[in-house]
Amino acid sequence: MKTIACYSNKGGVGKTATSVNLAHSLASAGYRVLLCDLDPQGASGFYLRVKPSRKLKEDRFFRDVKRFTGAIRGSDYDNLDILPANMTFREFDIFLSRMKNSRSRLKKALKAGGGDYDIILLDCPPNISILSENVFRAADLVLVPVIPTTLSERTFEQLLDFFRQRNLKHKKVMGFFSMVQATKKLHGDTMTRMLGAYPKRFLAAAIPFAADIEKMGIHRAPVAEFTGKRGAGKAYDALWRELMEQL
């Protein structure tokens, strides 16, 4: 079982689209995948038409293995299951702060409840919190979507700093460029600069800015389901292949 966290401390960078499409590509390739939605907004669940979990409230996520596994739902796609979020996930930091070993609770919960899967993909909320520290400890790889702009560049640096401060393995951090618009000079320049600054922290595969990805909200399905392997679907295909090499 490998855990991949799709994380960024900046919002709107394509975390959920990445989580859903990556999970779907991996499942299509034959891996048994659990997509675990940690974001209380529940966007992953929305894309896959799964309703918010009702019984996995408060600290049960971390304490009650039975409720945890009971909340898992099969998606409409082979090999892909999802643990949908609910609004009480907003208070994860409060629950975690009350618990012993508050920084490794997530790892423990995933180990206990996710035994059926080859890969657990975490769709994380955009902040740096006790929960994100849990995520960093639980994940074998922290996948960071980076829009090639100045602000994203700054948040990526902040993330690496955080890893250094907390003595976390910064090799776990793996960025990739997201929502790339080839026509924008700024994007091109930023990508060149960041690849130069962090040569080992970036994947070669990049996800373009695509109308198809935006349409996921209309189709409520992974992009490859309605576009096939052209365009955006192909990009996610390349992404998971490179990612699995890293693991």
């Binding site: 038409r49 799964v50 309703k51 909340a71 898992i72 739902r73 099969g74 409409d76 299951d81 409520r220």
Partner: protein, 481 residues
């Protein structure tokens, strides 16, 4: 419920052995496109690449073959039992978000002769157990309505009805005469059902069953003494003997060829080439013998004889010449006959020691065989579970005796081959002779081993429980159903 994709129209071919070994165990084997699919009760369809199944030994490796090996006799060919059209529909039970909660697969089988049958398979989705059980409950009436066996039987009516041992109804108040007639009529039918398979040379079991059916008729004629007039019995025996004799050599060759691998394993590696040569000869001879016998089955003379025999036994109150015991009630008659034969088995077995000559063992084998036939003929008159208790240890004893006998028959036959080598196998004589010699030694050892086990298996048969059973059922009365 909503369709998940377009309906797929395709054709299918259904396969089973002639005696319906798959249907009996609740399986349906179909071929569709270039794949074989095995459908069973409460299990997902099992798939494998490959077109025609044939003998399991010749099939390509795969999950279907894996299951078939455990069900189908290696001697039986999986043959086409029918064809039809197949529609596959994938459906989904959706919720208000259009999320799939239960998957459903419907296979609709359509044949010319049978009704249209749809197999519905529900597949739950993790986390939606309630939707699954609600749908199961709604479909409950349909879900278990048709077993796979019934599906196979109804899709192709008349294809799975063959039974080598048909259940023959015997009325307790019927006479011995009626019973004999019923048995003979049924086994003539069994023999006839096997004729086409022998002619088409589908597998060796057709001839085997054909011969057993005729042999059973012959035993009825000799065991039901004084039921028919003596002259008539003798005449009939002669006629059935003639029928049997025609296929004796073909069956012998079948048995050799079935044993090929076993025999090869028995002799040292350097003796195998000679034995293989011998088997090639057997195979060639078998081809000729099979053609000859198939021609015989197709001949006017044979057909006329069968027609005449059928006519003899076809009328219930026939005017067949009766013997002095003809009108004895079947139940009384059965008890006396079985009891007598049982006593003979015990008496013969009692005096068997390491010193008794082989003939004695052969005699015991014959008595056991006759006892078995008698019990099976009259079984419907007694409680099934009581009969089963008696048959089980008898069968084991018979297996050992059979093994003993096979070894001895085969040794004799091989010795004859050795004698005849000069004429037939001139150029390969020496090599074949060496191998046959080695095989004879091994068979002799096996025969001795089987012989050594006879006493032990008889002891197991001769337990207080079987003794009680025989006494209760056949001697003192009671136990009749």
């Amino acid at each position: 419920m909503a369709p998940r994709q377009e309906v797929v129209h395709t054709g299918f071919s259904a396969y089973d052995t002639f005696d319906g070994q798959l249907a009996r165990e609740g399986w349906l084997l179909i071929g569709t496109g270039d794949k074989l699919c095995l459908l069973g009760e409460k299990i997902d369809p099992i798939w494998q690449r490959g077109a025609l199944p044939g003998f399991t030994a010749d099939m390509g490796d795969g999950p279907v073959r894996e299951v078939l090996l455990g069900i189908v006799s290696p001697l039986r060919r999986l043959m086409l039992i029918g064809e039809g059209d197949l529609d596959c529909r994938l459906l989904a039970l959706l919720d208000d978000e259009h999320k799939t909660r239960v998957r459903c697969e419907c296979w609709t089988f359509m044949t010319k002769a049978g009704p249209t049958i749809t197999r519905i398979a529900l597949q739950g989705v993790r986390g939606y157990d309630k939707a699954f059980s609600r749908l199961c409950a709604r479909l409950g009436g349909f879900e278990n309505a048709l077993s796979v066996e019934m599906v196979a039987g109804r899709l192709f009516p008349g294809t799975t009805g063959y039974a080598a041992k048909p259940a023959i109804d015997i009325a307790p108040d019927g006479t011995a005469f009626d019973t004999a007639g019923d048995i003979i009529r049924n086994y003539i039918a069994v023999a006839r059902q096997n004729e086409d398979g022998v002619i088409e040379d589908i597998d060796s079991e057709f001839l085997h069953d054909y011969r057993i059916a005729l042999r059973k008729i012959r035993s009825v004629l000799s065991l039901f003494r004084n039921v028919y007039a003596a002259d008539f019995t003798d005449d009939l025996k002669a006629r059935f003997n003639t029928l049997m004799a025609r296929s004796g050599r073909l069956r012998d060759l079948d048995v050799y060829l079935i044993q090929r691998e076993t025999y090869l394993d028995l002799v040292p590696r350097d003796m195998q080439p000679g034995l293989k040569m011998l088997f090639e000869e057997f195979a060639a001879e078998r081809t000729i013998e099979q053609r000859r016998f198939a021609a015989h089955l197709r001949s006017d003379g044979y057909r006329r004889e069968m027609r005449d025999l059928i006519r003899l036994f076809d009328t219930p109150d026939s005017s067949l010449p009766k013997g002095p015991k003809a009108d004895q009630p079947a139940l009384d008659y059965a008890r006396v006959m079985i009891w007598k034969r049982y006593r003979k088995v015990c008496a013969t077995a009692a005096i068997i020691s390491d010193a008794t000559p082989d003939e004695q063992i052969h005699e015991l084998r014959i008595h056991c065989k006759k006892l078995r036939y008698l019990i099976e003929f009259f079984a419907p008159l007694f409680a099934a579970d009581e009969i089963r208790i008696l048959i089980k240890p008898l069968k084991k004893l018979q297996d050992t005796l059979g093994d003993f006998n096979d070894c001895s028959v085969q040794q004799e036959a091989l010795a004859n081959i050795l004698d005849g080598l000069d004429e037939t196998y001139a150029d390969r004589k020496l090599e074949i002779a060496k191998s046959v010699g080695a095989l004879l030694t091994m068979l002799d050892q096996r025969q001795k081993r089987a012989r050594g086990q006879v006493t032990a298996y008889f002891m197991a048969f001769d337990s207080p429980a079987t003794r009680d059973g025989f006494e209760r059922l056949f001697r003192t009365g009671g136990g009749a159903s």
